[in-house]
Symmetry: D3
Subunit: 136 residues, 6 copies
């Protein structure tokens, strides 16, 4: 019996979309207001999806308290109330688009899960803009 | 033309996570506050997803009024304002985790659908904890 | 400059609507499914509203971290994952309707606030049923 | 690295479910209140999902501003504040069920996307009734 | 102990903003797309707020099942899946703006409440546009 | 007939809570993570409430298109995708707490409204933290 378990979390961060290998003008054209050198910010919402067999002893695929702790440590403590471009190792040389943030978070969470479990995630930048990554 | 139709419903219930084949201590360790012998409760939200071909006469995959009635009879009338552990046959001997509730509901709804239609569902225990089951 | 600050929190609990001074039949008639002797439950959502002058030094009416801690201790730690009727002092002899829960919570939070601050709160039993109490 | 990007949009429209090749009575039986000859209406919410590789230069799968403009022109400007049955070419001879609206919108958006990108969408007729179409 | 009880309900309707005493051009200028002669529509959401003393016997200000039935009969059965301009007495000679709909609904519900209870309501035309009326 | 009309809008911004007249240590103690010198950010949601008499000609208290344009110009164009502390005149010398932002926005919008209309507003910093200001 394969079931997916979801856990939602939140973090608030500043960021700026910018590719240092492009000119100022190209950056402005590509990223518009998101290229503001003084940064803007978002309330990011993260839905982590873990898929696997139900353990007949617990009735759980994964204990959501364990999943919550992984997200707290790997995502919230790292990115919440941070400037993604300045305060984090992950985005010092990587443009913090929603797509790239999703891939980074997937790679931060995956090593903490039982290898039998599949991981996917959805990241909301706003209610109207969000992305999904399934690890492939 | 394959389309998925979703219908959302709600029920409010009490439950307790508990495996009678384990000791009190093991139950407490595994399920924490959810093991409270006097129960706690949730507003469950259920999204039922039915996938199939659009009927060219009606423009429907399934009439959502029919789907609504199935959910009302098989899920709402059975579980709403109930204690899942005490008041229901389904969870007398099955730990009512979100995972197990989803599988039980899938099995309750599936026989009422045309066999050509695929069934999946998402069950929210809270806004931040939810599960999906696709019947496999 | 009078501003209201709101902080939202959640707790999940079981309860039963019941007035022990009435007959079984009267209770059933008055409270219907909510009178189920085995309890049902809800995801309660609480919005606490604190109104007062902005402190010119901090720019705060009240530090929401302080407000969050009061709610955590007085509401969440007391009621979350509890059976309101059995596990709490407050509802041993008081029917845990949304109205009464709101009044009880108001009285639990008020003594922890600076007397210059006004307190009101909204309690959601479900998305469609909720109450407000302003302390009068 | 395959990521899905979602963009949500809204439009408000009147419609009537009706199949002119059926009798009045059959229409009433099939579509009930939705067959009201004077129309009723909805706040439709549309989630457009575009799946593809992350462009290493931009960090985007697709610039959501471009996706927003496609939705604005092809969906919003065409259907918002319209009567779907009377004011649009698309539903003059097609019953505007949520299923059919989803297929129509898919066909309107698809030609504007790079052929490497996959398109799917979810259309909400209400919070409780919605559909998904993946183009197959 | 004065508490407010809220009950939320929904109805889906078509309407057109139009003042017959003005010219076509003035109507178009005033109401823009909302003046479309073929109508558009909305998922209206209604929050009814009833304020009064808690009854010490029931712990209720008003039984929300009674409030639900009043809303069902006076609002939902009258306006749901209707064209407000054509199918209802109330808006044959009254422009169905959100403001006017709120006043009409207030007047429909008020006579069914105990005169000791105060009535107010909030009507959502969309998530971003809504109105409140307190009966004065 | 006095009705309140609400219009909701959104803007995304970076900010830092900081009082330059206090020491580094005092700032850190008072504002914690929100004092991060590299900024963090939020998706702010703003609900503007305008109260007045219904105009019998239009059925409006205020045309929400006009209200939308005022919010767009005075709030969105000024603060969206900005760093509140660096990019705006308003918060160069004012700590951008939710309370202070609400007061600033009230003062930006008020002069554009007919003096007969009352103005209040609610500002969401996150779903769980928000403030209200009524202009007094």
């Amino acid at each position: 019996m394969i079931v997916s378990v979801f856990r939602k979390a939140h973090f608030n961060a500043a960021h700026r979309l910018h590719n240092p290998s492009l000119s100022e003008q190209e950056n402005k054209k590509l990223f518009g207001l998101c290229n503001n050198p003084n940064f803007h910010g978002h309330n990011y919402a993260l839905e982590v999806k873990v898929t696997g067999e139900i353990d007949p002893v617990t009735g759980y695929v994964i204990d959501t308290k364990i999943l919550k702790d992984i997200i707290q440590k790997e995502v919230h403590d790292r990115f919440d109330h941070r400037n993604l471009n300045i305060d984090t190792e992950e985005f010092k040389n990587l443009n913090p688009t929603a797509e790239n943030i999703a891939v980074v978070i997937w790679n931060l969470i995956k090593p903490h899960l039982n290898p039998n479990l599949e991981l996917a995630l959805r990241l909301y930048e706003t209610e109207n803009n969000f992305v999904e990554f399934h690890g492939k």
